[in-house]
């Protein structure tokens, strides 16, 4: 150290962190310390955990000591204050991202139904047969309340035992017969037109019944629910009370969900296929423009080379998900937006890979074919194409594989395909259906991955 710095002055200056170091001849370290302490203090202020200031003060005091001894020509390490600051930043990060590790253990029960539903994807089902009967209840009472209903001979029936009208919250009792014996059923509440309905809940539980061995529904007390929407409070309204039994019959067959998933999966695969093929058409000419060995001739061609490279790099840096959002806004929800998003991204990705393939071709054969008196086209066909086709094919298959994966994600923002379906099922908490979609994606992605690996191995 080229000395004569006052240690006391240096320590005094260090009341502003880092200034002492700057004075004592370590400007970079001083500036870094100042910046680190200021930024960390701001972070603490923002997060509001004032106790962390203790750490700042420690780091600051250490800085004062360091500046003092630095001026004497021997530096203490600045590692400890930076370490303290690192720990503070980490604690803040922990708070900001809301990390609660205990939840992983305490709330593990929440994940069970999801996992078990995902493990029983709704791919197979049996046909459902139903039995139902209804009576009418009026609320509030009018001058001529509805009939109580009559027991029937052979068909399922439902009757009201006590009163067929009353205020919301009053109870009435129903009874029925001729249902399937010893089965559990549900009670539904419908408006007269039948287009509005809901299951009746009492004390938070869905109301159910159990038929006896003769198929009778034993007397069941119901608290009269509110009428539906618009009809509420507009004088006496009639509603239908329905007893419903369901059972599975016939053989197991692929479910509706299965076909839906299969259809959307095909849409996804095609989405990726269209995006990839569109991308190939553009990427091939682009790849020649972006190949240094082909464009190296003149400053003008080099200009094109740099321009193409820059555009490709920019396009490649935009996430396909963002592009999908842009195209959804542009051309509307659906697979077309997904095709466009993936195509644009793929042009950039393939263009780069293709151009690297062009750049790595061996000039020897081109020289040899030229020497035989072949023209330019023949030279390309016989010397260039055999060299670039295998990498082009390999990259393309690989890209298609990636695009299938990406298109499932792109569906989440409305870009069509199975991702769209999956996202809706997850929101509606239909986990068994979601499970079917997840399995389909896993199987297709695995199969394509495997196939593309084989193709690449065979070619390269």
């Amino acid at each position: 150290m080229e000395g004569k710095k006052s240690p006391l002055l240096s320590a005094f200056l260090s009341l502003i962190p880092g200034l002492g170091q700057i004075y004592a001849g370590a400007p970079l370290q001083g500036a870094a310390l100042l910046l680190a302490i200021v930024v960390t203090a701001l972070l603490i202020q923002w997060q509001g955990s004032t106790f962390l200031y203790v750490g700042i003060i420690l780091a600051w005091l250490w800085g004062v000591g360091d500046a003092y001894s630095l001026a004497q020509g021997r530096q203490i390490s600045l590692v400890p204050p930076f370490l303290i600051i690192g720990v503070i930043v980490y604690i803040i990060g922990w708070q900001v991202t809301d990390i609660k590790l205990m939840r992983l253990i305490t709330d593990v029960a929440d994940i069970k139904p999801l996992v078990s539903n995902l493990l029983q994807p709704a791919v197979l089902e049996r046909d459902i047969e139903t039995q139902k009967a209804e009576v009418i209840f009026e609320s509030p009472c009018s001058d001529s309340p509805p009939e109580k209903g009559t027991p029937l001979e052979d068909e399922p029936y439902l009757i009201i035992l006590d009163k067929t009208c009353g205020e919301v919250g009053e109870t009435f009792t129903i009874e029925g017969g001729n249902f399937w014996p010893s089965s559990r059923g549900q009670i539904w509440w419908l408006n007269m037109a039948g287009e509005m309905k809901r299951r009746i809940r009492q004390e938070g539980e869905y109301l159910t019944f159990q038929t006896d061995e003769k198929g009778r529904i034993p007397p069941l007390t119901i608290v009269a629910p509110e009428a539906f929407g618009e009809a509420r409070g507009k004088g006496p309204q009639r509603s239908r009370v329905q007893a419903l039994l369901k059972r599975e019959v016939g053989t197991i067959h692929p479910s509706h969900t299965f076909f839906l998933v299969a259809e959307k999966m095909m849409e996804t695969i095609f989405l990726a296929l269209m995006a990839t093929t569109v991308a190939i058409v553009f990427a091939i000419p682009v790849s020649f423009l972006a190949a240094r060995n082909l464009m190296g001739g003149t400053p003008i061609t080099m200009g094109f080379y740099y321009l193409t490279r820059t555009i490709l790099n920019i396009l490649r840096s935009i996430e396909p998900l963002i592009m999908a959002i842009v195209f959804v806004v542009w051309v509307g929800l659906g697979p077309f937006a997904g095709v466009l998003a993936l195509a644009v991204h793929s042009v950039a990705a393939l263009g780069k890979l293709y151009s690297e393939a062009v750049e790595s071709i061996d000039p020897g054969p081109i020289e040899a074919i030229t020497a035989t008196g072949a023209n330019r086209l023949q030279t390309i066909v016989y010397a260039v194409i055999p060299q670039i086709v295998p990498p082009y094919v390999a990259f393309t298959v690989y890209r298609w594989d990636i695009n299938v994966r990406m298109s499932t994600i792109i569906g989440f923002v409305g870009g069509g395909g199975i991702g769209y379906l999956l996202q809706q099922w997850i929101r509606l908490l239909m986990y068994r259906e979601a499970g079917a979609a997840v399995w389909a994606i896993a199987i297709v992605v695995w199969a394509l991955d495997y196939a593309s690996a084989i193709v690449r191995e065979k070619i390269v």
């Binding site: 061996d362 020897g364 054969p365 020289e367 040899a368 074919i369 030229t370 020497a371 035989t372 008196g373 072949a374 023209n375 086209l377 023949q378 066909v381 016989y382 010397a383 055999p386 060299q387 295998p390």
Partner: protein, 251 residues
Amino acid sequence: MLQVEHLTKIYEDGTLALDDVSFEVPDGEFLVILGLSGAGKSTLLRCINRLIEPTEGRIVWDGTDITAASGEELRKIRRHIGFIFQEFNLVERSSVLTNVLSGRLGYVNPWQSIIRFPQEEVKRAMRNLERVGITDLAPKRADDLSGGQRQRVGIARALMQEPRLMLADEPVASLDPVLAHSILRYLEQLNREDGITVICSLHFLDLVRRYGSNVVGLKDGRVVFQGRPDEITDQRFKEIYGQEAERITVT
């Protein structure tokens, strides 16, 4: 007769690779270009069929100025000049047959050749493969071949051109010494039996003595020797190869 007149090549980076090179090659000669690596042998050979553009000078072949030819005319000239490369320069992923057939591209209809070659050309290719003794390799991919086999494919490809002049740029430098003779004997045969003029660059003096009828010695792009192989005395040898050079014997 091939006349090289005041040939000079300066690369874009300023390297002077050939410096006022002049010599003549009468028809039917086996001319060896001798020189250290970097002497300008490859540049010289490639200037003759214009794979490299000469900076100055002329190359005249049987009265035709090769250096002045362009486009179609140049292609017509090139197809009579075979070229054999040190690194063989085969299209690795194509079959041996396709590689040999590609030597005929200067003759066939360009559009047709993109799809397929006429049957008679396939027969010609098989005859040339027979000549270099590897008919059975025709369906194999070039990258499945050994070095010696590759160079034979290279020769068969050049033969498809029915050349009157054969340029060979260190054709045996990438091969075992034992294989070197077998390859050079094919060139010798073409020279003696078919009367093809051969210009071949070589490294080893013993090979030069054995095969060459005339020698041009190059050093740093200049001609430092011109004469018959037996005229290369130890003194001459040192002029070409530098003072520290020792003679190595290859059998």
